[in-house]
């Protein structure tokens, strides 16, 4: 039986097709979020990757910001539950998950059985979110995914005092005009996000193992900064970006076989 999980975020869509709730048969990623062609494109690309058609899929479950706008879904679940389920599948020992999304931050705590036990999310503010990183990458004229490798060359971590994305953008522009080294600046940007995120994680309580999910987890500079801020190691699975979609596909399988 094939089940499909689609994670429709604010800036990207991810899709996973599972075979009998055990093996990944196909996956897709499209860098556009809800309200765009992203959901349709990622759905089709996952089917193509698996060599399947829509008729082969038993159940479709949507998660993410655009979960209620996707007509092709049989049901919807919150991204908190889906990320928790997906990460538990990938990394059974994980008890604390940090997901930095396009417009929100989630700190999830799992119980010993890997079920979502409690969660804390950011307030209505872009500080510390993926959007913050996107804006800063724009100012530096680099791609967001390039931030991690750039920060590897940092000799020091520049302090960015503004929390607000708009003010921090001005501050970064000002630092650039003072010829501050870009790798040091990127390390500072990561530290700024890490500080904001760590406050949330501490609020929810840290239980090891700690991991990150979502696309930002692929930014090793960000993982390094958050690990330093939390004073704890963070492990990241290569499929971290698909964790929400994977969780959705797993829950779809459980619902279908109930």
């Amino acid at each position: 039986m094939y089940t499909l999980g689609i994670d429709i975020g604010s800036t990207a869509c991810k899709c996973i097709i599972l075979s009998d709730g055990k093996e990944i048969a196909g996956k897709g990623l499209y860098p556009l979020g809800t309200g765009t062609i992203g959901p349709k494109m990622v759905f089709e690309s996952a089917l193509k990757d698996a060599g399947l058609t829509r008729e082969d899929i038993h159940t479709v479950l949507a998660t993410g910001y655009g979960r209620f706008q996707f007509d092709g879904a049989d049901s919807q679940k919150s991204e908190m539950t889906c990320h928790a389920t997906g990460i538990h599948f990938l990394m059974p020992s994980a008890r604390t998950i940090v997901d930095i999304g396009g417009q929100d931050i989630k700190a999830l705590r799992l119980d010993a059985q890997g079920r979502l036990d409690n969660f804390v999310m950011n307030d209505k503010c872009a500080a510390g979110t993926g959007r913050f990183l996107d804006v800063m990458a724009g100012v530096l004229n680099v791609k967001t995914y390039e931030l991690g490798p750039i920060s590897d060359d940092a000799q020091s971590v520049v302090s960015i005092s503004s929390t607000c994305t708009v003010f921090a953008e001005s501050e970064v522009i000002s630092l650039l005009s003072n010829n501050v080294r870009i790798p040091d600046l990127v390390a500072g940007i990561h530290a700024s996000v890490a500080g904001r995120v760590a406050a949330l994680v501490f609020r929810n309580g840290i239980v090891p193992d700690v991991t990150m999910s979502g696309g930002v987890a692929l930014n090793h500079g960000m993982v390094r900064a958050l690990s330093a801020e939390l004073k704890t190691p963070i492990t990241v699975h290569p499929l971290c970006q698909y964790a929400g979609a994977l969780g959705a596909a797993l829950i779809a399988y459980r619902e279908a076989t109930k």
Binding site: Y65, Q76, S78, T81, L116, N118, F119, M121
Partner: protein, 429 residues
Amino acid sequence: MAEATPTPAPAKPKRPLPLSRQMVNAQTAKAYEDAWKAAEEGKPIGWSTAIFCQEICEVFDIPILYPENNCATLSARHIGDPYIAHAEGELAYPINICSYSRLNIGYADTLLKHPEQIPHEAPYLPRPTFLLLTNNSCTQLMKWYEQLSEMFDIPIFFMDTLFNYYEEEPKPHKIKYVRSQIENYIKNMEKFLGRKFDWEKFEEVQKISQENCRLFDEIVALNQRKPAPMSGFDLFNYMSCLVICRGKRSTTEIFKQLKKEVEEHIANNTSTFPAEEKYRVHWEGIACWPNLGYNLKTLKNYNVNAVMNGYVTAWDVLYNPGNMDEMAKAYQCSSTNSFSTPAIMDKRVASIKDYGCDGMLCHVNRSCKLMTFHIHVGREIVDEKAHVPVATFDGDQSDPRIFNEAQFETRLQGLVEIMKEKKEEEANG
């Protein structure tokens, strides 16, 4: 050929309001009517903070209206925004201060400068001739009322209360401090009004006030039943009787009727909650008045009844009639805002257990720092002592710019999914 006009869907018939709600509406309308009549006759009218000793003005038989309650009403009806915009724009008040104060100050300025724009009926406040102020629930009220006093050029009768940092109950010196102010307030009102205070009537009003508070407590406690006979949001409506007419017989009649209706729901196994109650949550914070309808609809869609909240009991001003020390103590601590976070959260934990709540839903209210900041630490206490999941959402008591529907639904859905898992686990042993 003209295109056929689409036939609009027939309007969904509204369920008739229960008699108790009709009585609440009539009582509120009368309170405003009395105040407008007094204004037109040039008689005294007071504006008061929400938890003032209203018993005293009841004795003097002077109409009192409550700006905080008024702001809630204007916001729930979506007619408060122009006053907030006026306060922030022309009057230059910052967005960071309480939205009740912005709304009310914007309204007050409109009332002063353009009285012809204000209808002489509920929910519009007539111009006050004096102000009643106490800081037992909020300290920003003092600056707000200072502004009103200056704008209208009218006196403030102020009762200062003290925060209870490390104790569960106010210490004797605090009670003495508040009692002396109540007594002084009575003397000053006698001078201001040129009338003697009727101490016998005072005790009668105190008795009515106590009967009303006790009746309300009994009604609220009926929601401990599973499933609850009331939607928890109903409590927000009925609590207004204690806010604006705590010392009146009409409130007693409303509560007796309400109790009868609730007991009927229990006998018939029905509820005013408009869906099957699968989950029960404890609501923390003031209602998100501009989004009350959306909140209730979304809670209903997820079968979540917010059966109890930590706000409605703020008007539980309980004391023995005639005992001024007890009265002073009650006004010192009826709102949990005057206590430390651990003390507040211990009350919430007890309430979560008493009402059999599966989770806690907290309104991170941009306006009310006092009722919000403790949540971030408080959720750990609830997590540890009540063992229920906690979700927070952003909103505001009056400013519609803060709340976000998608955020509210996502967090509620996440909370429901955890509660569901826990329930299934319990059911499976």
